[in-house]
Symmetry: C2
Subunit: 237 residues, 2 copies
């Protein structure tokens, strides 16, 4: 878990983030100078819900699971892939984290002091606009997730998840699940046992699974069942 200053080599990747792409050069450099990079092994808890938010986190490589707990139960809320940020809202509000975060694999995380982010926000209008855009985007993502949960059964959620992944995989009809099934179950709001049964229940619609490998033989058939909706399933809108 070596703590390093921010090496300049990562600047370009961070720059490519929508959040930072339009920031003035001097602001960007100030932000980066206060930041640092850490390497984490798998399964390390980066932040714990309820703690106060001192850093904006940026996943440079690996992946991070955002999860929440209550009364001994736990659920996966989202997964963060490179290159993107998380807990922006808590950073902005200077409020306690609502979710915990843990690495899923070996990961490189950049940490930008929350205070620097707030200062840059005041100094650079482009950065402010980017933050607003990012927050609005995040808000809309969660609303979609909530619609997904409240309006669909677990089987329908799985079917639409598969269609989403299929689209994400260059529209081929075969692809691999991006993470282990127990986590997928938690993300979809169901138990691992139920996920197993759900995969079998989708066989009549042309879904076959072997290990992590999915094959969809009749996309239209699956779509007829899943009824994907851009206002729930499209990441962009």
């Amino acid at each position: 878990m070596a703590r390093l200053g921010m090496p300049e080599s990562v600047y370009p990747e961070i720059r490519e983030l929508h959040l930072f792409s339009e920031v003035a050069d001097d602001q960007f450099m100030t932000l980066m100078r206060g930041a640092y990079v850490q390497n984490f092994p798998p399964r390390i808890e980066l932040i714990t819900e309820g703690d106060s938010s001192d850093f904006l986190h940026i996943v440079l490589s690996g992946s991070v699971d955002l999860f929440s707990t209550w009364n001994g139960r736990e659920t996966s809320m989202a997964t963060v892939w490179p290159v993107s940020t998380f807990i922006l809202a808590a950073t902005i509000k200077d409020a306690p984290y609502l979710m915990s975060a843990r690495t899923l694999e070996k990961s490189r995380i950049a940490l930008v002091p929350s205070q620097d982010v707030r200062i840059a926000f005041d100094a650079d209008q482009c950065f402010a606009r980017a933050i607003v855009s990012e927050l609005a985007q995040s808000y809309r993502s969660v609303i979609k997730a909530q619609k997904n949960l409240k309006l669909r059964s677990s089987l329908e959620r799985l079917a639409n998840y598969l269609l989403q992944q299929q689209k994400h995989s260059d529209d081929v009809t075969e692809f691999d699940l991006r993470f282990e099934k127990r986590r997928l179950a938690s993300v979809l709001g169901m138990t691992p046992e139920n996920l197993s049964r759900a995969f079998k229940a989708l066989r009549p619609y042309g879904v076959s699974i072997e290990g992590n490998h999915i094959e969809i033989s009749d996309l239209e058939d699956l779509k007829r069942f899943a009824k994907p909706d851009p206002l729930i399933d499209d990441p962009e809108t």
Copy 2:
């Protein structure tokens, strides 16, 4: 449904909104000049999910239900009470609405052209900061709602909802439900029939209900069951 320019009499109430309280006077006047106020009867659909967002809406009186539909099903996502705004995220992103909105009762709604909001955002740093704060707040609210849905049973959601309302009612142990039970059921993600049964199931914990009137005889007992958590139930954090 008379369409009026914005009467100056409503300026003070809007000014009191966190979103507008710090805006420079000239910016505020510009925003208000482009805006107007409409009176709506109950049960009128103000916006429809999927439509493009032309106005930021501000509820001045009455109340508004935000709901979503999919595949013939419908669910209440949130209720907006005076004085507050809704669909800020869609306005900012210039993206289609993810939720529909309908008046629950006779309501006065102010409509501010989205474009004016975006212009004011660029011109006034205080306004920009307020928008960021509002969006971050909204984001956190939805995250809490999602945790509520994924981590709790419907009975637990109801118990915590009652505790929340009790706190909201000056901490007295008797209060009235703020809206009809069928909507409450939808908000809590259950059917009206199940809500009925859930109320009966809470009787052993000291909850009695008669019509819209709730009485909690043993607050501590109910809390022991509900296990309220600030990271799910507190509106502020």
